[in-house]
């Protein structure tokens, strides 16, 4: 066991900086490594992971981040967050297609629009608590696809067929993505994994990935700032002890509604990101199954933590992809067919609730505390 480092000391600071630099390096290098899809063969199964999977996972992370505000932090069980994500995605799709906006500028409508929508949703939710709110939101999630298919809005939303979004996100000429790839390729050893230059499609994928990463980072940073301050403490107090919070002067109604508003706005951004990623929106994508997936991601990653949203987003994206590509049981010839990914996610959900109720983020934190202990700063020091 190593000696504990005092929180806030120079050593601790250094360690944090090293951690962030490593994180930034990984985030920046991964797209070049898997721009040419990464296809490992494990136990006789061939897998193909593309950059697209990762970009989709980033969208899911932000969606879980939004859900986390209402459910993880302020403790209001929402099983219908896909509704907000879907609304954001469709809003973006319609604005881009019909008014020829750019993707990012649609955020100017999506964020305030969904915030208001979330607040309007949060007001009736004030009177409905706990389980009943879960019941209602569960039903709301199931309704989203049929609203999209309504005759009155079919011309706009494309009905069951979904909506192909016109605009292409092409990498601007000033972005030196191709040059960077060539540099990386020139590095001996590791460089062999990086392709020698990018094709047009690959360049577009890498550019989209970086755009999504930036949007996600901004979201996480803003949400973190909201949550570490007065608002965050109020929300956690409401979750842990509503009566106590009210007695301490927290305006329950205002904060609960606010949490739904922020939560919906972040969900809307996630919808925009998913629309950016795939260039297509379809009604069933944002139905009930996504709502459940988001809850799985939230719990598996760790409710009430920001890291949890990252882990959860990766889990709900890659577990289904991985299992749908697993043709035979590893090491044997037994063929696997069917929705194993969903079954595994369900099992994972239950296993996490049993073994690690704080989620993966909590587990990491415990391991980290064991390996690199940090002593809290003494009061007044």
């Amino acid at each position: 066991m190593k000696a504990a480092v005092a929180a806030g000391s120079r050593q601790h600071r250094q360690r944090q900086i090293i951690g962030w630099v490593l994180f930034a390096l990984v985030v920046a290098l991964i797209p070049f490594l898997i721009a040419d899809t990464y296809s490992p063969t494990i136990f006789g199964n061939r897998y193909t992971f593309g950059l697209g999977n990762l970009s989709q996972a980033i969208g899911m992370m932000v969606a879980i981040l939004g859900l986390n505000i209402a459910t993880g932090y302020s403790g209001q069980l929402s099983l219908g967050h896909s509704f907000f994500v879907g609304s954001g995605a469709y809003l973006t799709a319609v604005l881009v297609n019909e008014f020829h906006w750019s993707y990012l500028s649609t955020l100017g409508v999506v964020v305030p629009g969904l915030f208001v929508f979330g607040v309007l949703f949060g007001i009736p939710a004030l009177r409905i608590q706990g389980l009943y709110l879960g019941l209602l939101t569960f039903a709301v999630a199931a309704v989203f696809p049929s609203i999209i298919r309504l005759d009155e809005v079919k011309d706009r939303t494309g009905g069951s067929n979904g909506l192909l979004i016109d605009s292409d996100l092409e990498a601007p000429t000033w972005a030196p993505l191709g040059t960077v790839t060539e540099w990386l390729h020139a590095i001996p050893g590791v460089g062999a994994r990086v392709p020698d230059g990018l094709t047009g499609r690959q360049e577009e994928a890498v550019y989209k990935y970086f755009l999504l990463v930036i949007v996600a980072l901004v979201c996480f940073w803003l949400v973190r700032n909201i949550l570490v301050g007065r608002v965050g403490r109020a929300l956690v107090a409401i979750r842990d002890n509503p009566l106590g919070a009210a007695a301490n002067g927290v305006n329950l109604a205002a904060y609960k509604t606010l949490s739904f508003g922020i939560s919906a706005a972040v969900g809307g951004v996630a919808g925009t990101m998913l629309a950016m990623h795939s260039g297509f929106v379809g009604p069933d994508e944002f139905g009930f199954s996504m709502a459940i997936l988001l809850i799985v991601g939230l719990i598996v990653g760790g409710a009430g933590t920001l890291h949890g949203a990252v882990v959860g987003g990766l889990a709900i994206q890659f577990v289904p992809v991985w299992s749908s590509q697993t043709q035979t049981l590893p090491g044997t010839d037994v063929a696997l067919e069917g929705p194993y990914g969903t079954a595994i996610l369900g099992g994972l959900l239950i296993a996490i609730i049993f073994a690690l109720p704080g989620g993966a983020a909590h587990g990491f934190r415990r391991i980290k505390a064991r390996l690199m202990p940090v002593a809290p700063q003494p009061p007044g020091g």
Binding site: L77, F138, S146, L150, I292, P339, G346, G347, L349
Partner: protein, 313 residues
């Protein structure tokens, strides 16, 4: 008159339709039939809620499993449908008892959130297991009741199936009532649902009693599924829609009232069929269920027949 017609035009309502008595009656009968099926799944939800105080989101999945078992027993093994359904009810009860013992009982019963999450996990596992084992091909399960209609009036038919569905639901409620009020097991069950700690103190074995509640609920759910499926086709996602309507029914009737579940189911079934037909809202059928849930929870959270709980501060 002119004003009325234009008002109706907004909702796409034609006066021909509204003045068509046969259509009203036909939709009324269909509503009763649908309502009976919603009521039966709602009864299962109410049983779990009464005993444990939470909503089992996996209830539809347990029913789905039961219906597939009934399909295996009847179509593949050649048993008469009614016998197959009873066998499936027994089998799904066994599964539910196992699930309760392994996944539910380890958690403290007063912490609702983890339990709800576990039932969501079970929903994912059971639904996809059904998809893995039986695939996504649609199948048809014969009805337990003879075809044909004893009462016909133009297009309005009161079929044997509707009568059978209604009769089954009323029989189930009657039997449940007798079971809960006249037997020792029922007494234990009521004691546990009213006050878990005191029940334990007077020597009631709480765990097995709750397991019994789960088994009973799964059996009722399976029976409900067996009533639903002949109208639709059997495929893995079928119970999800039924679950939403049944949740609406249970919320309307009051989550802890058996009679409420039946009346709620019938009202939701009727409302659904009448609204869809006369307002042309076929895509909004699910949304009407959600609207019912929302209005009930806002206006009268205990539902029509539910009991109010007073929280001590």
């Amino acid at each position: 008159m002119n004003g009325l017609t234009s008002l109706l035009g907004v909702f796409d309502i034609s006066l021909d339709k509204l003045s068509n008595g046969e259509l009203w009656l036909a939709q009324f009968f269909r509503g009763l039939s649908d309502g009976a099926t919603y009521a039966s799944v709602a009864l299962a939800l109410v049983m779990i809620y009464k005993s444990t105080g939470f909503i089992n989101f996996a209830q539809g999945s347990l029913a789905l499993l039961g219906v597939y078992l009934a399909y295996i027993f009847s179509v593949e093994q050649g048993l008469p449908v009614a016998v197959a359904v009873v066998c499936a009810m027994v089998a799904s009860s066994a599964v539910a008892m196992f699930v309760e013992r392994v996944f539910i009982r380890p958690f403290p019963p007063d912490h609702v959130l983890p339990l709800v999450i576990v039932t969501l996990g079970l929903l994912l596992i059971i639904d996809s297991a059904v998809g893995i084992v039986w695939g996504f091909r649609t199948r048809s399960l014969p009805s337990m009741f003879p075809s044909g209609a004893p009462i016909e009036w133009g297009i309005a038919q009161l079929t044997w199936r509707t009568i059978g569905n209604l009769g089954t639901v009323f029989a189930v409620v009657g039997l449940l009532y007798l079971l809960l009020s006249r037997t020792k097991v029922g007494l234990a069950f009521r004691a546990v649902s009213s006050n878990l700690e005191s029940a334990r103190l007077v020597g009631i074995r709480v765990g097995p009693t709750l397991g019994f509640g789960w088994a009973l609920a799964a059996a009722i759910g399976t029976l409900g599924g067996a009533l639903v499926v002949p109208d639709l086709l059997l495929e893995p996602s079928i119970m999800l829609r039924v679950l939403i309507f049944s949740l609406a029914a249970a919320a309307l009737g009051g989550l802890d009232s058996l009679v409420g579940a039946v009346i709620g189911g019938l009202v939701v079934g009727l409302a659904r069929n009448l609204l869809v037909t006369f307002l042309d809202l076929s895509e909004l059928a699910l949304a009407t269920a959600v609207a019912v849930i929302l209005v009930v929870l806002l206006v009268r959270p205990t539902g029509l027949f539910g009991s109010t709980t007073v929280e001590r501060v």
